[in-house]
């Protein structure tokens, strides 16, 4: 179990402040969803958490240890990261790509674990097939399997639902919730606010590089935040015990 503490994190890229003074505490057992309009800084914040870029100010600490000074292999054992970039350079079998997520196991055990995860993601029939022969959605699930087989305490996923159909989007979020329930800290960025409302324990609303608010969906998806951050009108209601978000467009600014 691991807690991720962000204190006053700022990142400047190409002269622009992309992430500005973000402070947050991410605890085990919860699923955090980063939302915000394009260019809000979601990807940069996830990379900052994974220590994939240099911070211009602030610190990211994993269980009170600075992630920047942590040995890379130990950091990797704690954190599994799924980038937005979905390229795979070589036509490896799907099971071998998924098995990359557990490098500390023997190749045989890693393949067994990877196969089980591919099976859970509906890919058992293509597990030995090269990834170049898969559809975009299948390939996205193979890459997700690589993270889901990992024994890391923290999952950082940048737009994990890209290329997935609605059924698989929900199924993947259910699996991620299961991982959170096992005691992991799961952080993902999403553009689908309906899914964010339904699945998030806490929503992190980013706007212009700042963390506007981090709270439960009921608070984040208020009329005020929806109109200010997304230029949308809407309200969150509870239907049959489930959070449902109704959204309407506002005139373009």
């Amino acid at each position: 179990m691991a807690t991720l503490d962000l204190s006053d994190v700022s990142v400047i890229l190409g002269g622009d402040t992309v992430v500005q003074s973000v402070t947050a505490r991410l605890e085990p057992g919860k699923l955090y969803v980063l939302v915000g309009p394009n260019g809000a800084g979601k990807t940069t914040l996830l990379k900052a958490m994974a220590s994939l870029l240099r911070l211009n100010a602030g610190r990211v600490r994993l269980n009170d240890e600075d992630v920047v000074t942590m040995p890379p292999m130990r950091r990797a054992a704690h954190m599994a990261y799924l980038p937005q970039e979905r390229t795979i350079a070589w036509d490896l079998p799907s099971v071998d790509v998924a098995a990359l997520g557990c490098p500390h196991l023997t190749p045989e055990l890693a393949r067994q674990k990877a196969f089980a995860e591919l099976q859970a993601l509906g890919l058992q029939e293509v597990s030995d097939r090269g990834v170049f022969g898969l559809s975009g959605g299948q390939r996205a699930r193979v890459l997700l399997a690589r993270v889901l087989v990992s024994s890391a305490d923290i999952y950082l996923l940048d737009e994990p639902l890209i290329a997935l159909d609605p059924a698989w989007q929900r199924h993947v979020l259910i699996r991620l919730r299961e991982r959170a329930a096992e005691g992991r800290t799961v952080v993902l960025s999403l553009h689908d606010l309906h899914l964010a409302a339904q699945f998030a324990d806490e929503v992190m609303l980013m706007h212009r590089g700042q963390l506007v608010k981090m709270a439960g969906p009921e608070i984040i998806f208020s009329a005020k935040h929806l109109s200010e951050a997304f230029n949308l009108k809407g309200e969150l209601s509870i239907v049959d015990g489930q959070r449902m978000l109704r959204l309407e467009s506002l005139p373009l600014l």
């Binding site: 890379p72 054992a77 350079a89 070589w90 490896l92 079998p93 990359l100 490098p103």
Partner: protein, 331 residues
């Protein structure tokens, strides 16, 4: 996977060993059964000189040079995640070639090991430039751009050397050297190839696993604990050492470094880490076969090895490229 990596390694190693022995039967001087008997039991006999002093070092040099190119090609393609990468891409071969031509123009060609030494100095100079650059800019695109630039610059300077060469004989000498050969190579040349393969082979075993994670991009590799600067430096160093040694020992031999990894991939091994050793063995076998053909094909003078590897390698590569393109169309 069509074949397992270990089965392929064993198959390639056995085929190479058999061919090394079979090709020892070939040569300008036909050996009688009696001479063969002498070669095996009487050191210092004519038979022994021909077999152990000329034919075996030549065959082993061919295997060693090909293996270095095959290993270098596999490492470069894995690092740059580009199926078109090859040992010459970063300009190391061109640097070695340029320095060797300067040695020939300066009339140092007849002094033993001077051309080879110059080639290694040229390769080292380019490798040092690349390593300094990588320390500052580890991104692969930047590395490729610098390599292409250095390669073009060395090519232009080599053209200048041709242009200013004092006599047609010198020009012909450079041209002949640059076409590659393993004729009249000694055990020292064999040792040079063994040195390169042992050093870079050990490095690959230690760091090559990083290439597997790099399949999913630099960010994923870094998030999995891979130090990209260190990996890039190690592979640029290793690949440069192999390419430089290959040029120093045998001149310019094209297409082997590009085609060997593709040949192995066509047999179903796509993992850039597992591909390193089969590609090494395939490269050795390719150059050995090419050198055998050089000796078998009747020509007024001996055909040059580098010419033949390109003649065989280019159509083979075109077939593999066609097969790949067809599989991409089906996606």
């Amino acid at each position: 996977m069509l074949v397992s990596t270990s089965a392929l390694n064993i198959g390639l190693a056995i085929t190479t060993a058999v061919l090394v022995i079979a090709l020892m039967l070939l040569g300008d001087v036909p050996l009688s059964l009696h001479a063969w008997g002498d070669a095996l039991v009487r050191p210092g006999s004519v038979g022994a000189e021909v077999v152990w002093g000329i034919r075996l070092p030549r065959n082993l040099t061919a295997v060693g040079v090909g293996a270095m190119l095959g290993m270098s090609g596999a490492l470069m393609q894995g690092l740059l995640r580009n199926p078109l990468a090859e040992p010459g891409l970063l300009g190391v071969s061109a640097g070695a070639g340029l320095a060797a031509s300067i040695a020939i123009v300066l009339g140092l060609g007849l002094i033993p090991f001077v051309v080879e030494g110059f080639a290694m100095i040229g390769a080292t100079a380019i490798a040092v430039l690349l390593l300094l650059f990588v320390q500052r800019f580890p991104q692969r695109q930047a590395l490729i751009l610098l390599g292409v630039g250095l390669s073009a610059l060395c090519g232009a300077l080599m053209a200048l050397v041709f242009n200013l060469s004092p006599s047609p004989v010198t020009t012909a000498e450079i041209l002949s050297w640059s076409m590659g050969s393993v004729q009249n190579r000694s055990w020292f040349d064999v040792l040079l190839t063994v040195f390169g393969l042992v050093v870079v082979g050990a490095l690959s075993l230690h760091l090559g696993r990083g290439l597997r994670f790099l399949t999913l991009g630099e960010e994923t590799a870094r998030s999995m604990g891979i130090d990209m600067t260190r990996l890039t430096q190690a592979i640029v160093f290793g690949s440069s050492l192999l390419a430089g040694l290959a040029v120093a020992v045998a001149g310019v031999i094209g297409f082997v470094g590009l085609a060997s990894p593709h040949l192995v991939r066509a047999l179903g091994i796509k993992d850039p880490y597992r591909l390193i050793w089969p590609s090494t063995l395939a490269g050795g076998l390719m150059v050995l076969i090419a050198d055998g053909c050089v000796r078998l094909i009747p020509a007024s003078g001996e055909l040059r090895l580098g010419v033949l590897t390109s003649l065989i390698g280019a159509p083979l590569f075109a077939i593999l490229a066609y097969r790949s393109a067809r599989s991409w169309m089906q996606d």
